[in-house]
Symmetry: D2
Subunit: 334 residues, 4 copies
């Protein structure tokens, strides 16, 4: 039985709280959020005590795991605190928006040798994972292209946008990681980025893009395309396609029902796809937790590492460089 201290009681913290409580090998000991009301609400739902300070929870000797689902600017502090306290760490993406802070964090914690796993949930989706397995098993032959479509249902509010670090670091970072997940040991070495402001006045106000397209090249000359939007009226559009010498595989969208309508206007009309990540990646979040619990208990190596979190951020930064210079940028992982 692992005792968890959960940092963050927002939308995603709330979801993690529920999964932790339902997991047969987990006990949720503490919830912390600077927003006391949020913390109280989640605590009440899950019959857990709220703590007044993150330190208190993180340093409690009975706590085994610090689970960080708070706002991005708090991540590095909580990671550092947890590492020093010798706790296993799960941290939502991104580690931080500033690569210097990420690097410094890594230097600080590396000697404490605690397991740390980054929350790139899509790696745990059964359909995306099937493509990774097929690529690794040779089923699609030599990998030649990856195409990722990733569109949110609706743009966030301005408060979120102001703290999000830009579209590429907030959203595309998932797709950078998903590309890296499929590629395995073939690194992405080059990137071009395009962005547009077409949808959201709030995005424009904070100087952010709401529509974006990317091309990347791996060392083995695989070409990767990503397209992103802050708004898809038909739901959370999440598609992954891999193409190789022996065939293609698509991890397509999913709908909560299997209803098909036929009338004088259209046929095969299905219900809208899942609304957003909570619904779409429900299975993935549960399996992500399950694997992490197994890693901690069995003393295994994390599968989504600090390095993975860092590299995805480096790609986002390179994307911004390309966007700002109008050049194809060589990615520097140093």
């Amino acid at each position: 039985m692992l005792n968890f201290a959960l940092m963050g009681a927002g939308r995603i913290g709330k979801m993690h709280a529920k999964n932790i409580v339902m997991h047969s090998k987990c006990n949720l000991s503490y919830i912390f959020d600077i927003n006391q009301d949020l913390a109280n609400e989640v605590a009440k739902q899950n019959k857990v005590n709220v703590v007044q300070s993150a330190e208190e929870a993180i340093n409690d000797k009975d706590v085994d795991v610090v689970f960080i689902a708070s706002a991005t600017p708090t991540h590095v502090d909580f990671i550092t605190m947890a590492a020093k306290a010798g706790k296993a760490i799960f941290c939502e993406k991104p580690i931080d928006l500033d690569i210097e802070k990420v690097n410094k964090c890594f230097e600080t914690i590396k000697d404490f040798d605690v397991p740390i796993q980054i929350g790139f949930n899509r790696r745990y989706d059964n359909s995306h994972k099937a493509l990774k397995l097929a690529k690794d098993s040779g089923e699609i032959g030599n990998l030649e292209m990856i195409v990722i479509t990733s569109r949110d249902p609706e743009p966030p509010g301005i408060a979120y946008l102001q703290a999000a670090g830009g579209f590429f670091r907030d959203t595309t970072i998932h797709d950078f990681d998903l590309s890296r997940f499929i590629l395995g040991d073939d690194p992405i070495i080059e990137i071009s980025a395009y962005g547009s402001q077409l949808i959201s006045d709030e995005c424009k106000e904070v100087g952010d893009q709401d529509t974006a397209m990317f091309i990347m090249r791996s060392q083995k000359d695989v070409l990767i395309h990503i397209n992103n939007s802050r708004r898809a009226v038909y739901g959370y559009d999440q598609r992954l396609e891999i193409f190789g010498s022996k065939g293609m595989m698509i991890s397509n969208n999913q709908s909560p029902t299997s209803v098909q309508r036929f009338n004088n206007v259209s046929t095969l009309a299905s219900d809208p796809i899942h609304f957003f990540f909570i619904e779409r990646y429900d299975q993935a979040y549960k399996d992500e937790l399950d694997e992490f619990v197994d890693i901690v208990i069995e003393n295994k190596k994390p599968t989504v590492t600090f390095e993975d979190g860092r590299n995805a951020l480096i790609l986002a930064n390179a994307a911004y460089e390309s966007f700002n210079t109008g050049k194809s940028v060589n990615v520097n992982y140093k």
Copy 2:
């Protein structure tokens, strides 16, 4: 080059005329229809001469093939005339609505030994045919069930209904033949039929059913279901499903486009399926003609025989007996 005399210039005659004219080994010599206007129209479109009498065309020594696409009551006369003239015969289904007339016709023509092929077009549809091939090759293992959905887009007018011989002989006859096509040498031995009057006042007026369901049993205990309707607002619904010990295959509906729509109401919404048989079975009608031309030129045996036409009618008659008596009827092919 085969010279054709075409009987009938209605909807289906018109379509056959076009296919014959376009076929590289066919020459359309004559068109006959008791409705001179129809005949003239089709003749004009295809630059062919109209004849005043069927006899004249059928007995012309240069005519090789009599192609019968006229009203059902004329079929037996034209078949007999053509057989006596030694011509190859293609006859649209059904041969006749009266099994006695069919039997007598068979007796009359059997000694003339001309090739005669019946127009069960669905056997030539590439998708339906793929299921037959899979069944024969063992791909689905031991055949256990057949399910046929066959629904017209809209009910015909009262004139058509009065001459059609009833829903089971006019429409279901195709599905009886399709069942026999899949089953091969395993005969249908038992049938139950249900019908309803739900759609068309004209159907009610002539005492006909517009909605129907059937179960049949083959000698090897395969169970077969057919359902029919005179009206499907989404188009001509033509589905064939075969189910066996190693799997299932579906020959599904087809649409003229591959468009899919995604919006806030529905996803994957496709255009309506083909409107009716002319569009849906376009490929089948062409291949049906092509095979028949090959049979005549190469002196091969017809693949859809007079016997097939007779047996489908016997099943329709047995269906009516079941419908009228409320009993499961044993089919007597004698």
Copy 3:
């Protein structure tokens, strides 16, 4: 918080136990099974105490709900016991295999006036339910046909078959209920049944069918087709189709992934559908429990009544009469 006494710790009891434990308003107080090992196993998984006798659990004054998921022959006894103890009752289908016992049970319990709900889980599947809603809202116009495909992945063992009461009462009973669910207040008045022994030697040994087809007619002349098999190698085939004057709706099969494969042999190849009812109706079982909890707490009327359980059995019996006599049978609900 409702306290549950669960009867039965087999495959389905185990699943219900888990759902009850996870439900925020339920407490699982007792598990009983004549097979102590099964009971102990499920009890251990859910940290619940096993009881030695059903009576003890059912009559405990703190127990609010008796949840019956034990073998069919025990249902009537447990229902009666629970009704006399004044408990709310949930009972898996079928109530009993013998209509006389069912009727007697009804007479016995009717004066105790406890809520009793029957476990026809398919009514709670979101996709099937969407069809019911569309039918009721008029979206498909006047209902004309229902087509149900319901095939198990593999035949059960001989012990199960010996106690199951025959294919129609064990399996088709779900489809009879699903038909009744869609039809609403339009009763089924006529039925024809066909069966075959094609798959399972064990079925043959107990004199049971393993392949079956049915046609039914409702009072308003809707025609209904059901087909069943004890084995579909591609998984648990569960399809519901409703057809009316304004269109058609299909509740189609569901797969655990959304993977599509394209290679030189085939395209759009998806992963197999869900294996069996536990996976396929996971959402339905949870919502079924959720609604029942709401009924008990809010003192509402059960939505799937004892009468529903009785009527589905009457249809199964009528189906056997048709199968044995080769006649279309008028259904007598008296």
Copy 4:
């Protein structure tokens, strides 16, 4: 009745010959090809006379239309010859590989004022066209992204590759035109191109790419992605997706059958999609001819203009500039 002189009797000339012969308003008067054997073969199939020189055919006073489906380097000469002879011209894409020659050709012919139409066949595909109509009607709201997947089934031989002018001018040119078709009066102003050599030794030998990805931006900030491959083992992959503020539409792949297979390995497995352009765009090629015939007879303006052919080439050239410099290139249409 229009009399056609057809230049070119290769794969695509052969197909056009058949369509011209079958068209009710067309007469195929001449076929010319420098390869006499090819010319003779197509002439024989279509009962047409071969001519020894293009001039002879083009200048025949009875010829109304010069239809150019010969090798690319001959296009400009034949266009010029035909314009001077006052004939209507249909020319397969690309006009030429050299923008200077294209510009000079335009200068030469502009005063002759003959109708000239360029063969961008995809504009005539009913599914692609439905997306254009939906975009224009406002059905998908404000256009935000276009995604084009366009992959050939197999790489061509070295002879073809040596004359083809490079992957972007030979293949992507279709997708550049398709993007322009959807965008309408919103010009593409910026482009980035990536290419890889992953598939074909012959491509490598001639220094060409066989795998490519592009991003483009329109004046209204619509982002466009194209991906291309010289080999897709599952057939000719042709997908067009448009995405806007009110929804998304996909023109998806098409298969010659509607067969779906279900077994213990996979479900919904369909037959491979169409092999290549002759099969996939059969309907488009026929409608393209049909519209052109209408334009000539009715004296209408061509819908796919010389300017369209020129602009697609300019985009291909800009793509090469981006590929060679690693920069995002501003497109200059002057």
